[in-house]
């Protein structure tokens, strides 16, 4: 599915360890849910300052999904302590849509 391919391209282009990028895809109704696993040292880079990078990725993924009348969600797995900025990003995204 194109949304997953796009996520893969974006994350791999930004990651220091593209070989460790894994994406799981699930589809629920009209929503494409993507779960991302990356090298721990890449997590900060992919999330970015106050979630700036991950939110930009989500926005572009949403555009790709919208062009097919779908919705897209991207979650970063296994962040432990670093979970906070991403959750904030989620809230922002939801408030926007």
């Amino acid at each position: 599915m194109a949304v997953k391919e796009l996520a893969e391209y974006l994350v791999k282009s930004l990651a220091e360890h593209p070989e460790k990028v894994e994406l799981q895809e699930r589809e629920e109704d009209d929503t494409v849910l993507l779960e991302l696993t990356i090298a721990p040292e890449d997590i900060g880079r992919i999330i970015g300052k106050s979630g700036y990078t991950i939110n930009a990725i989500r926005t572009v993924l949403q555009a790709a999904a919208s062009s097919r009348r779908k919705r897209a969600r991207l979650e970063v797995l296994g962040q432990g302590e670093a979970a906070l900025p991403e959750e904030n990003g989620e809230a922002d995204n939801e408030a926007d849509s």
């Binding site: 974006l10 555009a63 062009s67």
Partner: protein, 223 residues
């Protein structure tokens, strides 16, 4: 122009590696051989790797625009809309114009999608070239239209500040948008502008400048 060094088993392999990393065909590279390398005796003793120094022949501006277009094309390929990207190297930045069907999907709320595309393309290209690139991603003349309306807003707010002699604040704005407001009021000597706030909450405050006459009057009053 950037210069890089590559070390591989043979010169041929080193050149290939250079083309791969710089994403440029061989004709666009200036190649200087530092060491030819040798396989040594029986390929074990005294094996030396081949080393080359590569300088890109393409001027950085054109290269950045070309690279940026490539990355943007790659992203847009996954969006199900008819789209063509025009790239143009402008003074100090690359301008990428997306020609599409005008659905507004690429712009998003207040340019959110356009800004996300711009941010990601510039990040990816900077990573690939090792140099920071500055670029503007546009569609349907959105950037110019937005600049026009922000400028108009700045002037409206400015008039109000002059009338009431009280400062006014814009909503939270991106650095790009704040710049437009500052520039719009730059030549108005009755007003002064300043940015305030942190991160995504930064806004522009427009202050009235007290005229010398009024200032003198106020001083008189104080005495």
């Amino acid at each position: 122009m950037s210069t890089l060094e590559f070390e591989e088993k043979s010169i041929e392999e080193a050149i290939e590696a250079a083309c791969r990393q710089l994403k440029l065909p061989r004709e666009k590279l200036e190649i200087e051989i530092i060491s030819k390398g040798s396989s040594g005796i029986f390929g074990i003793v005294g094996a030396r790797r081949a080393k080359i120094r590569v300088t890109t022949k393409v001027p950085p501006a054109g290269l950045a625009a070309e690279k940026s277009k490539e990355v943007l094309d790659e992203i847009l390929k996954h969006i199900d809309l008819p789209m063509v990207v025009e790239a143009e190297a402008r003074e100090g930045y690359s301008y990428l114009n997306i020609i599409s069907n005008g659905s507004g999907l690429l712009i998003g709320k207040r340019g959110k999608t356009l800004n996300a595309l711009q941010f990601l393309v510039s990040k990816i290209v900077s990573r690939q070239t090792g140099e920071s690139v500055s670029l503007l991603v546009d569609t349907e003349n959105y950037r110019a239209k937005r600049e026009e309306s922000l400028s108009a807003l700045a002037h409206q707010l400015g008039e109000k500040v002059k009338k009431t002699h009280r400062s006014l604040t814009t909503g939270p704005m991106s650095a790009q948008d704040r710049r437009v407001v500052h520039l719009a009021l730059k030549d108005d000597h009755d007003l002064r502008t300043k940015s305030k706030g942190e991160g995504s909450l930064r806004r522009v405050i427009i202050y009235p400048v007290r005229k010398p006459k009024e200032a003198a009057k106020a001083e008189e009053k104080a005495e």
